[in-house]
Symmetry: C2
Subunit: 115 residues, 2 copies
C-alpha cells in the first residue's frame, strides 16, 4: 500500500503546489524528529537548509549530510527519516506524477543520489 | 530554434544535476543583470532568495515578485529576464525532460504560475 507522507506525517510534510505533472511538498522538522515510514515517487529534493539525517527502510539505513541550496535525485522509495543533526531540516520535494518513459530496473536505492 | 539558457547565458545558468527524467539548473544573478531570450521546458522553479524580476517575451512583459523558499510552476516558454530588484536572484529550476502525458492547449503563459 502506498503511504503518502502528507497523510502519514502531516506535521512535517505539506503540499505547496500541484498540477497534472508534479506535486511539490515542503518538509520542515526539528532536531530529533522522526517520520514514520512513507513512500516517495521519483522526486527531486531541493535543500533550503543544510541537514544531517538517517534514512531507514527495512533492515537498511543510510546517513545523509547535505548542504543548503542544492538538489539531489530521490528515486521512488519507501523510507522513514530521523533528523540526527542539531538544526531543522527544511527542503522541497518536486514529485513527478507521470510514470517514467524508461522505468529503472533493479532494487531501489535508499536515499538521495547524484544521478 | 530551441535556445538553452545554459548555452545562451552561461554566467547565469548552470546544470547541477541531470538524469533521464529531469535536468536541474541553478540560476544566480546580481541586481540589474539581464538574460538574453531563452527557452524553458515545463519546469518547477524553487526560490532560494526573494526577488523582483521583469520577464519579457515579444511585446509582452510581466513583473514577478517572489519570496524565498517557495515553488511555482513555469510552463514551457521563451522569455528574457531582468533583475529589477536590489538583491541577487537565486533559484533552482527542475526541468521535466519527458513530454507531458496531457499536453496543454492554448497560448503559453508568460512567467511562473500557481497552477
Amino acid at each position: 500500500m502506498w503511504i503518502d507522507p502528507v497523510t502519514s506525517n502531516p506535521g512535517l510534510y505539506s503540499v505547496i503546489f500541484e498540477n497534472e505533472r508534479v506535486r511539490v511538498l515542503e518538509y520542515l522538522d526539528q532536531p530529533g524528529q522522526e517520520s514514520i515510514p512513507h513512500d516517495h515517487p521519483d522526486s527531486v529534493m531541493v535543500t533550503l537548509s543544510s541537514f544531517s539525517r538517517r534514512l531507514a527502510s527495512g533492515d537498511k539505513a543510510v546517513d545523509v549530510e547535505m548542504p543548503a541550496s542544492t538538489a539531489r535525485w530521490l528515486g521512488a522509495q519507501n523510507h522513514s527519516g530521523h533528523n540526527t543533526g542539531s538544526t531543522p531540516t527544511h527542503c522541497i520535494f518536486v514529485e513527478l506524477k507521470e510514470p517514467p518513459l524508461a522505468p529503472r530496473t533493479g532494487e531501489p536505492v535508499l536515499g538521495p543520489t547524484a544521478s
